[in-house]
């Protein structure tokens, strides 16, 4: 088991976007290949793991599903930390969610504080493409926005019809992997850190165990 674990690459994927744009259903579609008819607003944040093989490597994608409401943004900040890539979702049938892309991107860069602000891998996902009644956000506009904001990639999906959901996430993960390659040196450190911490914390645990004993004496 341990050997296998070492080969695995862990990626933290954060999905952000306005409330009700379909973040949860996208993730649910990807991780459990089902569409949730009855979905509920996400409170705080949730996450799920998915193992994928990309380019011969097994990757464990830790997909964070954040809440869209403003109240929870301040709580979600802690979840942005250490993200390897970020997907910003908007609802193609809801223009205001498209207009909010800016604020989401900036909030992520501000609170997630990734090292490379300019090149951090974002993916813009236009969800709910199945609701085609002529008033959707046009692909051209979205592409334009992406071009204006540092050549981000854009993809149109539909969690309901399962159109290019898989693609979107593989793209995200690939981007995260590329970024990881640059920081490859960190990886072994991380693994070794785990062993170290275990030692340290054992001591702490002992200390914790001692404290109540003292109390008993008193």
């Amino acid at each position: 088991m341990e050997k296998k674990k070492n080969k695995k690459v862990f990626l933290k994927v954060v999905i952000i976007g306005d409330s009700g744009v379909g973040k949860t259903s996208l993730i649910h579609r990807y991780t459990s290949t089902r569409f949730l008819q009855d979905f509920k607003p996400t409170i705080g944040a949730e996450f799920s793991n998915k193992e994928v093989v990309i380019n011969g490597k097994t990757v464990v994608a830790q997909i964070w599903d954040t809440a869209g409401q403003e109240r929870y943004q301040s709580l979600g900040i802690s979840f942005y930390r250490g993200a390897d890539c970020c997907g910003i979702v908007f609802d193609r049938s809801d223009h205001s969610s498209f207009e909010n892309l800016d604020t989401w991107k900036n909030a992520f860069l501000k609170h997630g504080a990734p090292k490379e602000e300019g090149t951090f891998p974002f993916l813009v996902i236009g969800n709910k493409s199945d609701l085609d009644d002529g008033s959707l956000v046009k692909e051209r506009d979205a592409q334009q926005w992406c071009a204006d904001n540092g050549n981000l990639e854009y993809i149109e999906t539909s969690a309901k019809d399962n159109t290019s959901v898989e693609e979107a996430f593989t793209k995200l993960i690939e981007k995260g992997m590329e970024r990881e390659k640059v920081n490859l040196v960190e990886l072994p450190d991380r693994m070794s850190q785990k062993n170290k911490t275990v030692n340290l914390q054992r001591d702490v645990a002992k200390d914790v165990n001692r404290k109540p004993q003292k109390k008993k004496c008193c």
Binding site: S19, I43, Q69, V208
Partner: protein
Amino acid sequence: MKENKRFSFGPKYTEFSMNTLDSDKQQRAFEISGDKHPSKKTALAEYKNGINQNVPLRKAVCLTGKKKSGKRKLLSCSVHKKTSNLRKKAKNRPVSPAPVPKNTSVGVEYSSPCQKKENKRKQKLLVNSCLHDRKPKDFNKISQMSNKAESTQFLHPSSQKRSPSFLPNKEELRLTRDRMENHHNFDIQFPITKAKDRLSVEPSFENDTYYAQSVKARGEIIGINSLVSTSTIHNTPHVSMKAKLSQTRESSVGQFSRNKRLCNIASIKDACTSVSSQRHRPQIKRNAPLQKESALVNEVYKSDTSPNKPRISPQISQRTFESGRHMPIHYRRRGPVKIGVNSANSSVFAKNSNNSSKDLSFEFIESDAVAKTTTANRKFPEPIRPTFYSKIKKFIFKDTTKFPCKCSEQDQELDCCSRAGKWVRLIEAKRNQRINQDRYLEEYKLVIDKIHRTEQEDPNISINTACVENFNNDQDQIEKDIERTLVDDKFFGKGKDGQNTLRELLNILARKDTTIGYVQGMNFLAAAFLYHCSKDITLFLLNYLLDDLELSKLYSACSNELMERNNSLKSLIYRCNRKVYNHFENIGLDPQTFALEWMFDLFSHTIPLNFYGKFLDNFLALPSTNSNTGWAYFDGVVVSILLEIRNEILEKDEWDEILVFIKDYTKDKNLSFFSWKINWDKILNQAVTI
């Protein structure tokens, strides 16, 4: 038209529409040289009285237009009755354009914003006083007159259906024109009794067209009079009014006569003479209308319980009608007794005014109807949100007392199941108060009324755009969330009663404390309560949760209640199971990462509804030593869940694995009844002992 700017004073509900041609000089709309007004003092006194009596005084008159288009004159005509100048001109030279004197400017110059506000208020007061000081002399006469069958017949030429297009028929036009000539405008009136009926039913289209024309036929002075009177009626909350004056400086009577499409000169002359012939000063009786009003408010509340409730809330229709009574008599004579201005009006007016572009045109817009007119792509580029009140007013007086819980039979005294009755009794026992169904209902209505009043609030209080934005966001959010709150449930499904009640409740919660607004999680909580009791008791219980159990602290973004909750959870885990605590410490897992959702919706989504009553039993009503008893129980539940799965937790070394496991354990993914891995009954019982 250059631009249409809309001003909403304070929270977005009130819309005093202003049609601005000169955005800098909107203030002129409010210009009245008020110092000379004789009853200024009385007006002030009344205003104060009104505040004391909790009688909402809210109306505004906006007259906008270009410079020197005669706004002030018209306003002063309507308010001070200094119509003599205009009348003379109209008499002498009805056809030729009346020159407007060059220096018509401004009694008061607006130097500072403070002054502006004061002037606004002044203007308001004046208009109010004008309208309410006078008691109609011969109310009976008029009603008799108008009861004549003749007038009713042609006022309702066809059954009151709205025609698909907003343009009046040609036939109707002809009809009305003939009528105008025959009746010289003056005798034509709406029967008051009919008006009353109509107010509570659908707005009728034909009447509006007629109204539009009759106002025109009477010339601008009368028009303004009726306009002011109708728009400033006491407590017609949704009537926001827009008066538009044409840009030209010609006398509008003259223009009017040129526009022969609608009526001929003779009728205008008649109209003018009728104006000038009626010079009487109604008696001034102070406070009488106000007292009436306050009595009315009480009446309305009493009348709520009557079984036959009209669809439009009686509050509005009654008040609007009644308020017509203390309108000055001559206003009523000229302006037909069309008091609750209807929605169809505006569009008709707009059309008519477009046809005769140089005419004065007035628009009466009920704020509900504004949205409609916008969709008809006229005048307003942006859609206006329906006000909160207009949204829920359908439901306020409609009792949805059914609650779907299967706890047991209904409580004998309260409007809820016996289980919820127990909660209420325990809470009241804590507060040393007795339960009283009427009180909860009353409180509920008071809250609504309060919100309603802030909708119509004083423009002097605040123009807080941030606040408005928050409300808008909240409203969007609520709409989004309502569609995903317990959709599978029979009660809360799409378009069901439960959903409507839920919407109402959430809107109230969002406006109750504006610093918090609406927070996700409230929806589940409110739904869980609505499962057991009616909305008024739900509000009572939610208030208890938010205020006494300090849930509102958790919801507000600017407090570290969350950290406190987290710490208390940690300490309880530490006391109950040290191994789990140490394991969490080793991994670096904070209990708040998995308990955050539970905190915000108090398990109301996690625990299935039929078990949730049990949780609330303890959470609401455990005997208290301090205020946080409920939360102690909450911690207990969390810990008992952790204890239930402690072996699995201890096996797992990665914190994300633990999180996923807890999530899977507590949530039924298949959404079927028997698929819960968790034995909630056991856990809830266990939690009490912890």
